[in-house]
């Protein structure tokens, strides 16, 4: 009769320490252990090591430790967002996320162009115009345009498309087409350069 295999030694050692597991000990193993002194001695050594391991308790940390551990973990993940699986595609390389800066740039350019044309046509007035009661001078429009541009750029830089509309950064349907049709050659050229720059930034 062959000696016990490692699997069987494990079963025998666990069975020696646990009656529930002893019940599952293979009949052949049990019979072999009855007759083979070498395997019995080996199984006893393995059971001794197992028993020593079971008895080795670990020091219990201070009761305050658990609160500290929780707090450190909370702090560590505080600035991380969990990305649900359905949104994970946005974080994949070469995914649709790469369209976001382009779409943002188009929307931004459209908003600026529409605003500029409306200013030029006198359909909206800057705060300074209301005070003066007349159309703004070229200099004041340019200065305010620059500030508006900077504000829009800084806000749009970190704004996902899905948040842009609720934030009031959307452009009415068809407004961009109409605005582009009214643009001067210089304005079209500037818009083209802007789009090229954004496309270059996105790496496409």
């Amino acid at each position: 009769m062959s000696h016990l295999s490692p699997d069987e030694f494990v079963d025998a050692a666990e069975g020696a320490l646990d009656a529930r597991r002893a019940a599952h000990l293979d009949a052949r193993c049990a019979a072999h252990l009855e007759t083979c002194g070498a395997c019995r001695a080996r199984a006893s050594q393995i059971a001794g090591a197992l028993s020593a391991a079971q008895d080795a308790e670990i020091p219990e940390p201070s009761p305050l430790y658990w609160g500290h551990l929780s707090a450190r973990i909370r702090e560590a993940v505080a600035h991380e967002a969990i990305v649900p699986a359905w949104r994970a595609v946005w974080s994949q390389p070469f995914g649709t996320h790469r369209l976001v800066p382009i779409a943002s740039a188009v929307a931004l350019a459209g908003a600026v162009v529409v605003s500029g044309l409306m200013l030029r046509e006198g359909r909206i007035a800057l705060p300074g115009d209301r005070a003066a009661g007349g159309p703004a001078s070229v200099e004041s429009v340019a200065a305010d345009d620059s500030e508006a541009w900077q504000m829009l750029t800084s806000v749009a830089a970190d704004t996902p498309m899905e948040d842009a509309h609720p934030a009031g950064m959307g452009v009415p349907a068809g407004a961009i087409d109409r605005a582009v049709q009214r643009m001067t050659p210089d304005e079209l050229n500037a818009l083209g350069q802007l789009l090229q720059t954004e496309l270059h930034k996105s790496g496409d």
Binding site: P6, D7, F9, V10, A13, Q45, I46, G48, A49, L50, A52, A53, Q54, D55, A56, E57, I58, P59, P61, W66, L69, S70, R72, I73, R74, A76, V77, A78, E80, I82, V83, P84, A85, A88
Partner: protein, 199 residues
């Protein structure tokens, strides 16, 4: 404004009363829905088991502390990949074993002695029999922990999960990515080596 206020109130610490009674799977769903306090509950529920797993691997509090924190940070980042069919505890064990196998090397600093033992000479002499027995048991436990920390990584992982977390062999096989036969063989060799290290 009212909606905003109500939404904020729902995330106040008192809201833990509701998440505390949820199952692990519900807590994961709550986390994915953006309820960060649900993850706090997951941590509170599992941190002891995870810490103990890490301590068994590392053999000292400092490394166990670092590993336990790392386990939960990785779990948070990977929560979207958690499959509800599996137990969250088993999933955390899997992360814990990976963290420990990567971070805790065989040369890891292992406690030489329990704090109880460190300054015990004169105390042993002046204490009664049960105190001496306590110290001896503590010393023996420290020796066993140090021996376990010296086992090869897979053997250590198998022994820790089997002996201290009472996981069945097939579950350990799932965590370690091996077969039941390999787990049993590793366990056998772990106990053999432990016996040698303790004699």
């Amino acid at each position: 404004m009212l909606t905003r206020t109500l939404s904020w109130t729902a995330k106040e610490p008192g809201c833990k009363v509701t998440v505390a009674n949820q199952t692990d799977a519900e807590l994961v769903q709550a986390c994915l829905a953006g309820r960060r306090e649900a993850f706090d509950t997951i941590v509170e529920r599992h941190q002891r088991q995870v810490y103990q797993l890490c301590y068994r691997f590392a053999g000292n509090h400092e490394d166990a502390n670092d590993c336990a924190q790392e386990v939960f940070i990785r779990a948070y980042r990977g929560l979207k990949t958690f499959k509800a069919q599996a137990s969250l505890g088993t999933w955390l064990y899997r992360i814990g074993v990976n963290v420990c196998l990567n971070k805790v090397s065989a040369k890891s600093r292992v406690e030489a002695l329990d704090p109880l033992i460190a300054a015990s000479d004169e105390r042993t002499a002046s204490h009664d029999e049960s105190a001496a027995e306590t110290l001896l048991r503590g010393e023996r436990a420290a020796q066993v922990r140090a021996a376990i920390a010296r086992l090869p990584k897979k053997q250590r992982a198998t022994l820790v999960l089997r002996v201290y977390h009472d996981l069945p062999h097939d579950q350990i096989a799932g965590i370690l990515g091996s077969s039941v036969g390999a787990v049993k063989a590793n366990f056998f060799h772990a106990l053999n080596n432990l016996k040698k290290l303790l004699t």
